[in-house]
Symmetry: none
Subunit: 403 residues, 2 copies
Amino acid sequence: MEAEFIDTLVVKNNTKIIFLIMDGLGGLPMGGRDQTELEAARTPNLDALAGKSVCGLLDPVGYGITPGSGPAHFALFGYDPFKNNIGRGILEAAGIDFPMTDRDLLIRVNFATIDTNGIIVDRRAGRIDNETNKRICKKLQNNMGRISDRVEVIFEPVREHRALLALRGDGLRDEIQETDPQQTGLHPFSPKALVPEAEETAALLHELVNKARNILSDEKKANMLLLRGYSRYRQYPSMEQRYGLNALAIAGYPMYRGIARLLGMTIGPQPESIRAEFMALRENYKAYDFFFVHIKPTDSRGEDGDFDAKVKVIEEVDSLIPLVTELNPDVLVVTGDHSTPAALASHSWHAVPVILSSATCRPDRVEKFGERDCILGGLGRVPTMYLMGLALAHARRLEKFGA
Amino acid sequence: MEAEFIDTLVVKNNTKIIFLIMDGLGGLPMGGRDQTELEAARTPNLDALAGKSVCGLLDPVGYGITPGSGPAHFALFGYDPFKNNIGRGILEAAGIDFPMTDRDLLIRVNFATIDTNGIIVDRRAGRIDNETNKRICKKLQNNMGRISDRVEVIFEPVREHRALLALRGDGLRDEIQETDPQQTGLHPFSPKALVPEAEETAALLHELVNKARNILSDEKKANMLLLRGYSRYRQYPSMEQRYGLNALAIAGYPMYRGIARLLGMTIGPQPESIRAEFMALRENYKAYDFFFVHIKPTDSRGEDGDFDAKVKVIEEVDSLIPLVTELNPDVLVVTGDHSTPAALASHSWHAVPVILSSATCRPDRVEKFGERDCILGGLGRVPTMYLMGLALAHARRLEKFGA
């Protein structure tokens, strides 16, 4: 089934759907322990919820595929992560909540160090700090001048050695060779056109790179830029257009706010704690149909390789669950976008446990929220991109298919 | 995998396959009960069968999709419900067991009431009774005359305000605007061609609608007709052609007889009880390879919202199971086409429990036929359109793929 098929069945309803997403929720046993982070956490509220809900395991992208945050979140919201594979440039822009327009070509910049012969000696410019990054971007912005009458150039710092370059103009193309040779000891590649239609854009980028090299020539570390992940801005159909949902995103981190904005969600105030996120949900509950509540620290502590700290985050979320369940949403989904086991200190390919709580769900025998329990859940194992259809169905927002 | 792939592996065999389909079998707990209809029912025979079979859960169309009877049954017989999404006109014709030909354009008619200005005031003509419907169809048939030398017009009553209109001729097209504006207070739409190739058909329908309006002008309620769901007859490859199966349908309700006919099954006599269906199976057992036994009341009682009555139907079927198992079929499948939980009083998207009993099945640990038990079955969770391949395989009717 195509993920977009559900769009043809959408009907209006006043029901409310909450997606509580603990980033990187799924885990692994670590250091002789027998339990995953979620299994080890004391979660009486989530266990009680699992007991009266239907549970299962979600596969974010596919068997064995470790997803980045972009594909993982697109899948959660019912956007096929292959067909909607978000360009690195757009994701970088979304990640700093950059206000994109449909005339933008978005490019990820890595600052690098070259020697006097122009050979790359450090592809990350010694991982310059954020302040240096800001200074360099400003320097480029102030000295670049115009490279064309019709194209605006915008540099935005991201962090360390990473920045965003946006070209804004008509007819820009993204079929351009990346200039990062992916190893030191080589000259940067030239931003060559990969198709004839991209010649004009390639010429602009060629000039831009030369100018940038001159502007940065007095820098010790960041004296060159490498271009990657060219992506023309792409308009995604919004959740309002696809599902008739008036959606609110409650997320502290810029990337998730950016992704939510790409899908047409309203972006809530930037909360400073998990509790503040839940309070923002409650305060805005009347005004929206769909709520994306994004909990970042589960992923961050997983990335740190800190099993116990990830357990603590899960326990904190559990303690706040009554703030959500008291709202009596028609559908409450609790899951993650992917697994980030502390044992691997990175995203992983492992399936993600999910609770779908609704008056219309068919209960199973799962009594505890954990990976091993969810294997036996009534949802079985579901590609994440179908979760949205299940949520809409349980919220009585899909009509019958065929007579 | 494409549903049709199994066709390439079909080999001849003398084995027999029975599909015992309890329409709308899957359910939900209701009114404080903890069990579904099937779980609540006392089913010693089905439980014993489950104990020595392989069980699982079927998804009729896709996650979250509530199927109509057409797609749900097409999937059961191994026809991809998306690729073979049956038009409303054909389903209406199948529903009254209308003998379609490959020159037919089939159209669903709703009788409606218009005022003196031609504005629709009741889209269902006050839900006229079946007798009035028959009289009006006859009146239209007798007075319509010919609208073309090459096209025959046939009106057939369905029930209440619904009828079937068949145009029979060469080159008829179905790309025509529906005339039902889906609300009162408007004029009916014109049956306009949606593509240039449909102009001729549109002109015929235009004339037909005008004539019908004149013929019905003295009617108080049904003084207009609205046209919907234009579908050109489509020839489906038969089960004989696809699987080499000589199939018999034992079904009391016209729609299921009609669907079976579309797939080339022989249609058995119309039985008057569940027991009579099982007796018809026994009487015809020698003459066919495949048997579709359709039990309607599970769905009807579910649609009524009557949990206890649905339980009783399941128990009645259970008590008759020995009449089937005594035949020792090579494959016996017991399942439903979709769920119809009494709690929702309608079809639903929930997966459907299935038993596949065969000497060649690999048993699992399921000892009871119920939704929660089938989660743990050896078939796991299977899209319904793959059930037919599993049945053929267990009946030793599929050869090896590749060397």
